[in-house]
Symmetry: C2
Subunit: 352 residues, 2 copies
DNA sequence: TTGTATGCGTTATCAA
DNA sequence: TTGATAACGCATACAA
């Protein structure tokens, strides 16, 4: 047994790991031979190879990736930028990216921006040093186009989930079909007989949010749609619906379409607090199909987004170019969504 | 404007980024000076510095981290190994680690094992190359002690959430106080008058799971506790409760303590499917306080685990040693938990 | 079948 | 105030 550490004033410092030279010396061969035994890049006499392997094993030698990275000019690591990893959607997306990367022997470095532009900037600055071979960018918020564009020349970038205006035509884009999802809800509510709907959008600088509402209008028609701008959080849905109810006069909607599930939950809470029943008095539909959507009461009608597939596709697309050291041409990958009809929507009943 | 890419048979290949030599040449100074202008490690004449900065900016030069890493012998990146990033608990934990890392300018490389030992092994093998400066290990399953031990000499490791038998006394350990959590539930049920409880443990090779049950028994007493082994998934809770109900004879419990929330949800479903009401006929308590625990019907009584704090503490502890290039001495950090009394538990009512 | 020499891009040491 | 040189650890072109 070799000692793992050296004592030093009560503190133990990490030992210098064995290098290829140490192995070469102990096996009485050149570093070149050690390298080739391990890589298989050229034939080595079995006897020699065996001797080397035995030393490698004895010293616990593992090639230093830092040196390899410098030599190879690549790290086999891609970056993943998300706004909030505890958000189920981005967690699923991250898993997809991670799976795609793992399949090709790549690692994923996680950049969690918490929707903080400064934090995002710091991360992007960090990544400019070419630490990574590519990046999946899913910022979830209107991104700083400038910084991103400057990275585009350094390594491939795939945009996931959200369009980055101005970069759209320059690289890979993978999103769910937000527009089709909006259409599905629009059609569903119309079929249930609803004619007056309160539509709560997300932030209007997010293309995905705009697309959802646009799709809704396509299928439902513009007439009877009252649109208000929300913020993709529960409180927002609550306040907007509460405000709409307090407007005085008779209720001017029989259904609510919230551009994400959290806002839909807020909407339901506001309706119930106002003494209205969902879906008997008012129907509510959301978007995303987050985990709790199927477990709340009433179970939420919504549109399922293929978050995992978005991540996986973005990762796989990205890596197919990273691998060949090529700049990805512009491409769009729009993944299908599914309508989930549950218990929060029902045939219209005229307002009292 | 310089061209960002070179055309090559319709495919665009990435341009070689400017190196310190390019900058030095263009600014008519030595690479040493460029380095010092950027690092501030030694004084440079303002005139020279200005010339260098202007070239840096013009060429878009950023020091290659790969070369820095080799030179410095460190990467400013730590690894984070989790079983499932889409699990709310591990997502919170990851966020904590990521925050701690970001505060000190470190990146986090995400290793999602999906509870697959092979996948975990592949990751650990990858990381042996000292790509990372340290690791937070939260495998969520009984870990391969051997492989981990061999890494312990290469870089600091902090164990998060789950004890790794045999490594416990060798490095940092950060967990929630599972035992105290179990006690809180035991005491709560006892105070409600329950005397016969079905306790569903998690996998018995997980120390955290054993601790929860042990704590429960400490507070509740051993008498009246029927213990069965579950698997930390909803189905498991369902089946075990369904089986217990079908045992024939009168029901032998008035409350269920499931060692995690998912199993508790399964338990509730099984009870309701059997025509029993929760909590009127049977009380159910869980553990973890996952997001849906407070939104299901009935809202689940459970123990809140400080997942974020576990991650953040593990990350901060780890980095305090990484920073000084020291082997962390054994230390335990046991974070407090909180009882969340909600609607799924009620005073006992004798079985029919 | 194996070895020598070189270079990857940076920073540290030493010298001027 | 600045520069030349070595070194980090590896992989590879070239040589034998």
């Amino acid at each position: 047994m070799t000692r793992e550490q050296d004592e030093d004033g009560g503190r133990r410092r990490l030992r210098r790991p064995a290098s290829i030279k140490d192995v070469a010396a102990a096996a009485r061969v050149s570093p070149t031979t050690v390298s080739h035994v391990l890589s298989g890049n050229r034939p080595v006499a079995e006897e020699t190879a065996e001797r080397v392997r035995s030393v490698v094993s004895r010293l616990g030698y593992v090639p230093a990736s830092t040196a390899r990275n410098l030599q190879a000019g690549s790290t086999n690591v891609i970056g993943l930028l998300v706004p909030d990893i505890t958000n189920q959607f981005f967690a699923e997306l991250a898993k997809g990216v991670e799976d795609a990367a793992h399949d090709l022997g790549y690692g994923v470095i996680l950049c969690n921006t918490e929707f903080d532009p400064d934090r995002e900037d710091r991360y992007l600055e960090l990544l400019r040093g070419r630490f990574i071979d590519g990046m999946v960018y899913a910022s979830g918020s209107p991104p700083s186009r400038g910084r991103l564009a400057s990275l585009l020349g350094r390594f491939p970038i795939a945009l996931a989930d959200e369009v980055v205006p101005g970069l759209l035509e320059q690289t890979i884009l993978v999103t769910a079909d937000h527009r089709a999802g909006g259409r599905l809800i629009g059609q569903h509510l119309r079929e249930l007989g609803h004619r007056r709907v309160l539509a709560i959008s997300g932030p209007t600088d997010l293309v995905s949010s705009l697309e959802r509402i646009a799709g809704f209008r396509e299928a439902f028609g513009d007439a009877g749609v009252t649109e208000v701008e929300g913020a993709f959080v529960e409180r927002s849905g609550y306040h907007l619906v509460a405000a709409a109810l307090e407007d005085g006069g008779p209720r001017h909607f029989t259904a609510v379409f919230a551009a994400n599930d959290l806002m839909a939950l807020g909407a339901i809470a506001a309706l119930e607090d106002a003494g209205l029943r969902v879906p008997d008095d008012v129907s509510v539909a959301g978007f995303d199909d987050i985990m709790i959507a199927s477990r709340v009461h009433p179970r939420l009608t919504t549109v399922h987004q293929p978050a995992y597939d978005v991540g996986r596709t973005a990762g796989a697309q990205l890596l197919s170019y990273v691998h060949r050291d090529e700049v990805p041409p512009a491409s769009r990958h729009i993944l299908p969504v599914r309508l989930k009809v549950r218990a929060s929507t029902a045939p219209v009943r005229p307002p009292r």
